[in-house]
């Protein structure tokens, strides 16, 4: 699998399948792990980073993942950005230095970053709300990798990480939620404050510090020490359904109280996306969010959730440039984006209100 192959496929996590997938885009768990016999990435020499990379690659090969390794150190900035947009690597890995890379399994469910803040950042994603399943998968993968890697671990502090905020289980359990209803009724901040009170973090689509984008929010644990993986997962599986309920009632309110207004908003968004000749990334996200909610509420048919989900990623700057095969300026990207949207949305139509 090459980077160019990735432009022709999309991750399983965008399929829009699995429980609660009208709101839960995907469930994701990542584990931070380090090799016991090397300094952490930020203190490792170039040679040491190369050794770490070689050891992790050998372990991943031995685990039989059928994963492809991408050398992030050797690739262009555009390719790095492309992988960030796909959620396969973090901004930190893209901006890092020295030997580093990522192993990606065919459906992009699994990515293993090498020499990010920690030597390994193992990530497993599945579409819909199914954290226990994701845990079973990533836990088994972690065991396999451990056959060949001596992890930095202390019986009292658990898995040792470069930043003490990840020590212990090294786990981050998260769900990515689409919450346009709570944004529309302005209850979103209230929900976030409640989540923060119980030590859950809320971030935008692209992780730490990123702006909420297309009304997507990631909710994840912050504390990693003193609770088992299962306990941390249980916190999320207990709390997320409440957020889903708030979002559903916000949507219901919109449908019953302001149906005409909502239908108009969704149809206009859809119309603009299907016909625009040039469109910015920000406007695209805003309108796609409306359309996504419209599809879920039955205001648009002939358009699958998977297509809408994919468009959130495929209308990002680096993807468009990879698709075109060359670098594009802002204006050119806006034209390319509009063209992609017109061709991908040509088949769909808005539902007629009786």
């Amino acid at each position: 699998m090459t980077l160019d192959d990735l432009t022709r496929t999309s991750g399983e996590w965008l399929r829009g399948t699995g429980p609660e997938s009208d709101i839960v885009m995907c469930s994701r768990i990542r584990l931070a792990r380090n090799l016991a016999d090397f300094p952490f990435t930020n203190r490792a020499s170039r040679n040491e980073k190369a050794s770490i990379e070689a050891q992790v690659r050998a372990a991943v090969d031995a685990a039989g993942l059928d994963a492809s390794y991408f050398d992030v150190n050797a690739m262009s900035n555009l390719d790095r950005q492309f992988l960030v947009e796909r959620q396969v690597i973090s901004r930190e890995l893209a901006a890092g230095e020295g030997p580093r890379g990522v192993s990606v399994a065919p459906k992009e469910n699994v990515s293993i970053m090498v020499n990010e803040e920690d030597h390994l950042r193992i990530q497993y994603m599945l579409s819909g709300f199914r954290l226990p399943e994701v845990w079973d998968e990533i836990n088994a993968l972690d065991d396999q990798l451990e056959d060949d890697i001596a992890y930095a671990y202390s019986p009292s502090l658990g898995y040792l990480t470069a930043c003490p905020t990840n020590v212990g289980t090294g786990i981050r359990v998260g769900v990515m939620l689409h919450l346009p209803g709570l944004v529309a009724n302005k209850q979103i901040d209230k929900v976030f404050r409640a989540l923060q009170k119980i030590n859950l973090a809320v971030r935008g689509l692209y992780g730490e510090g990123s702006q909420a984008f297309g009304d997507f929010y990631q909710i994840s644990n912050q504390q990693t020490l003193g609770k088992s993986e299962e306990e941390i997962i249980k916190i999320l599986t207990d709390v997320v359904p409440q957020v889903l309920q708030y979002e559903r009632s916000a949507r219901q309110e919109l449908v019953t109280g302001r149906r005409q207004h909502l239908h108009d908003q969704v149809s206009r968004a859809y119309g603009v996306l299907k016909t625009a000749q040039t469109i910015s990334s920000e406007e695209t996200m805003l309108l796609l969010s409306s359309v996504r909610m419209g599809v879920n509420l039955g205001l648009i048919d002939d358009l699958s959730i998977a297509t809408v989900n994919e468009l959130f990623i495929q209308t990002q700057p680096a993807f468009l440039q990879k698709l075109r095969g060359n670098e594009l300026g802002v204006e050119e990207r806006n034209v390319a984006r509009a063209s992609l949207l017109r061709s991908r949305l040509a088949g769909g139509r808005a539902v007629e209100d009786e």
Partner: protein
């Protein structure tokens, strides 16, 4: 230096280019004002000391003694460097800086003991981290004989990988 217009001490030193030629002027405050130059009334007190103190306190905490200067023998990180950079240097730091880290873990995680998945025991790994740091230091002081010896000790496992 004396002001070019009067006999007071010159405090304004100006170099300008006039018709492609350098011209230097040295003036006292009053003559400079008279010449139409804008001067600040008084150097503003930026309160730098207070700002600096606040920053140090925020990043390093109250500790300024022994712990702040403690250095990990393996990765060479000082506790103070960790408090400013936020990242530890190697697995051994958790032991070396234990005294400073435990209260921090308690604050952030509400706990100081791991519960959950256990890694397999690898008795040799810690020694290898030590050997690697000795290798780095041998290379730094250009003791290539020692470096070669350490490399040989590390080699079997590295090749296995």
């Amino acid at each position: 230096m004396i002001c070019q217009s009067c006999q007071n001490e010159a405090v304004v030193h100006l170099t300008e280019l006039v018709d492609g030629r350098r011209r230097e002027r040295h003036l006292c405050v009053d003559c400079a004002r008279e010449a139409g130059l804008t001067l600040p009334d008084a150097p503003p007190d930026l309160g730098l000391d207070a700002v600096l103190h606040g920053l140090i306190k925020k990043n390093v905490g109250e500790l300024v003694g022994e712990l702040a200067e403690t250095r990990c023998p393996d990765c060479r990180l000082r506790y103070m460097d960790f408090r400013t950079g936020g990242r530890l240097g190697c697995p051994h730091d958790y032991r070396v800086f234990r005294e400073g880290l435990l209260p921090m873990l308690q604050r952030f995680h509400g706990a100081t003991r791991h519960v959950g998945k256990r890694a397999r025991l690898r008795p040799g790994a810690s020694l290898r981290l030590r050997l690697r740091s000795q290798l780095r230091q041998a290379v730094a002081r250009e003791d290539y004989e020692e470096a070669a010896r350490l490399r040989d000790q590390l080699r079997p496992k590295d090749q296995h990988a």
